[in-house]
């Protein structure tokens, strides 16, 4: 198993009446709710937690890209990844990912991921989401009906820039470049592993199979609701005649660990409510620009139940029983994760361990309990696939480490 400690980096100070007094947490969220000095502290806390996860032995630390979003303060995850490169040492830095249709030219993603791959000494996993309609269409103005074509072209350019290793001309519709020759180039061969966050588009299943990318379902609605979608993915994998390694798939799950189930509810319920009842308040008109989904995907019908889940006034019991969250004692959490891992047949887990307005101390507590009392029991759930390295990073055996601060003045050049 690969466990990635993931932080969406939510804004922690949305008011109690946010849902009643605001149209949307995303796209046109009120600027008056933002406080840059507070954000300075929030970023510091969130980075501390990611670094703590590295110390506790999580396989990866994960971040992602959102724009104009009250539950995701990372328009550029690459900036966060760069700071993590220096202050983490073992965990993979998982950028899940860059919305490649939004960069002009998308070569920028090839360059920045190459830099991150090198900075981390090959401790790098990347992702190429199409991006939500909110981010891609409504915040960044990409034409919905052309989004996927633009994405496909950007993908071709990035992979060629990483793998051809000699200058070439690229004559795309959206990007025309006479001399593609990124420098520096990636460390991992042929390039860093790529995970594709998907939300049920059938074309994405094939894209992952074709390119040996891991398909990641990043929902907030939990593992019980994910079953139908993931079954659809595995059905497609079988139809394509390739192996069904669980590392071909990843899943994001909100999780809270305490000493007992009761303590979990007492410590964490307010933060779960904050996230599910406040952060996910997205104006429906922003959810799905016409043309963003392909006709084929709409026609499967599987999508509709995922398109507009309603998160209103969910109780702790609703959240736990409905599988939105996994919460409780280490034993409860372990059992539920076994169900999840086997039920969805997944090898990559993105643990949403910082949730909503959770303070640092509670999050660190939950993070430590999971690492010490849950993770060791789950790590070897797919022994028959233990050698499948296709979907995870391959770091250098000997990596440079940051010099202790203050050491530089004592250095004496060799004669």
């Amino acid at each position: 198993m690969k466990f990635t400690w993931f932080n969406l980096m939510p804004w922690p100070d949305l008011p109690d009446d946010f849902r009643e007094t605001n149209r949307s947490v995303w796209v046109d969220i009120d600027q008056a709710l933002f406080d840059p000095a507070r954000c300075h502290e929030v970023y510091a806390d969130y980075l501390d937690l990611l670094e703590y996860a590295d110390q506790l032995g999580y396989d990866g630390v994960g971040i992602n890209e959102h724009h104009q979003n009250g539950y995701g303060l990372m328009p550029s995850p690459n900036i966060m990844a760069a700071t993590l490169a220096r202050r983490t040492s073992k965990a993979a830095v998982v950028v899940l990912g860059n919305s490649i249709a939004l960069y002009n030219p998308p070569l920028r993603v090839a360059e920045e991921f190459a830099m991150l791959d090198i900075l981390t000494g090959g401790r790098f996993v990347g992702g190429f989401p199409v991006g939500t309609s909110m981010d891609t269409n409504f915040c960044y103005g990409t034409i919905p009906g052309l989004t996927r074509e633009k994405y496909a072209e950007a993908h071709e350019l990035i992979i060629r820039a990483w793998t051809e290793k000699k200058p070439f001309a690229f004559n795309g519709r959206y990007t025309k470049l006479r001399h593609v020759n990124i420098w520096p180039n990636v460390l991992q061969t042929p390039h860093p592993p790529i995970h594709i966050p998907g939300g049920g588009s059938v074309e994405t299943y094939d894209f992952c199979v074709d390119n040996t990318y891991s398909y990641s379902y990043l929902s907030f609605s939990g593992y019980l609701r994910a079953k139908a979608l993931m079954d659809g993915y595995w059905k497609r994998v079988a139809e394509r005649g390739v192996d069904n390694s669980p590392y071909r798939a990843g899943f994001a799950q909100t999780v809270f660990v305490a000493e007992t189930d009761e303590e979990a509810e007492r410590l964490y319920s307010e933060h779960a409510f904050y996230f599910y009842n406040r952060c996910l308040h997205v104006y429906p008109g922003f959810a799905d620009a016409p043309g963003y989904r392909t006709i084929k995907t709409i026609q499967t019908g599987a999508l509709n139940q995922y398109m507009r889940p309603t998160y209103t006034n969910l109780t702790w019991k609703d959240l736990v029983d409905g599988g939105y969250i996994i919460a409780g004692s280490p034993e409860t959490v372990r059992q539920r994760f076994e169900e999840l891992i086997k039920g969805l047949h997944v090898g990559n887990i993105f643990l949403l361990m910082h949730v909503g307005n959770m303070p640092k101390d509670k999050c660190a507590y939950s993070t430590r309990l999971f690492a010490e009392k849950v993770m060791p029991h789950l790590q070897n759930m797919w022994p028959e696939y233990a050698d499948d390295g296709r979907f995870w990073c391959k770091p250098l055996a000997h990596r440079a480490t940051p010099a202790p601060l203050g050491a530089a003045p004592q250095m004496v050049p060799a004669k």
Partner: protein, 261 residues
């Protein structure tokens, strides 16, 4: 009696609605699309031989991955005109259709000599931002599209009533929406402006601009901006009508178009 037939351009299979007796008239529909039952189309057919090609992605026309932008849809529409064997028909376009018509007249000013633009898209005024139709929920459309929102609601419900929780209704509804607005978005998203302001001076056609006095999508300043931009133009403002002026005030719209005869 409106009939339909298919023609093939390089970009797509095009379903052309056709009917009526009189001078040739090419009608370019709005982002909402058009059907053979459309009351305005049937009213036009009483005085004209009307041709109404459905844009790729609309109705029985095929989809098209070959149309990406304004130039491609404009040239595609010239191809339609050519295949129909039309020579300088009266060109009429509503909203998105007006935007395409104006673009045709700007690109080939000697080929288009008369046109009626009914509250066309294609100009953007910073002081009067156009509402973002791509974020509107179905129930919100009537208030933006009609002078009389209640009457508009009844008219729209007649065409698309159904239970949104029933997949048998919802999936075809979403497919239609994705096909139509997916195509329209190539010219209208996120800002319905594709550089016409730099070409509009080329238009030589005698032009009638038809505007609903209470158009909430493109309010009055847009009507005047168009009037000021096209040399041989006149502006007809129709009271008690919104963006759907052709269906709300059909006779008045026909009378305005008739000024070009």
């Amino acid at each position: 009696m409106i009939t339909s037939r298919k023609i093939e351009t390089r970009a797509a299979t095009v379903n052309v609605l056709e009917g009526g007796e009189g001078p040739d008239l090419l009608f370019l529909h709005s982002a909402g699309g058009i059907t053979a039952e459309n009351p305005f189309l049937n009213a036009l057919a009483k005085s004209y031989h009307v041709y109404a090609p459905q844009l790729p992605g609309y109705g029985d026309s095929g989809d098209s991955d070959n149309i990406h932008d304004m130039l491609e849809v404009t040239l595609h529409t010239f191809d339609v005109l050519e295949l129909l064997g039309l020579n300088k028909p009266l060109l009429v376009g509503h909203s998105l259709g007006g935007m395409i018509a104006a673009e045709m007249a700007a690109i080939a000013p000697n080929d288009i000599d008369r046109m009626a633009l009914i509250c066309p898209a294609g100009i953007w005024l910073d002081a009067h931002p156009v509402p973002d139709i791509f974020t509107l929920l179905p129930r919100q459309f009537p208030e933006y599209m009609f002078h009389d929102a209640e009457a508009g609601r009844a008219m729209m419900a007649a065409g698309q009533g159904g239970n949104m929780n029933d997949p048998a209704f919802l999936i075809p509804f979403l497919v239609t929406n994705a096909r139509q607005l997916g195509m329209a978005g190539k010219f209208l998203f996120p800002i319905p402006e594709r550089g016409l302001k730099d070409r509009i001076h080329r238009i030589k056609a005698r032009t009638v601009l038809v505007w609903g006095a209470s158009d909430k999508l493109f309010p009055a300043p847009y009507a005047h901006a168009w009037k000021d931009s096209i040399a041989k133009s006149e502006l007809v403002i129709i009271p008690e009508a919104g963006h759907m002026v052709p269906v709300e005030k059909t006779d008045a719209t026909l009378a305005a178009i008739a000024r070009l005869r």
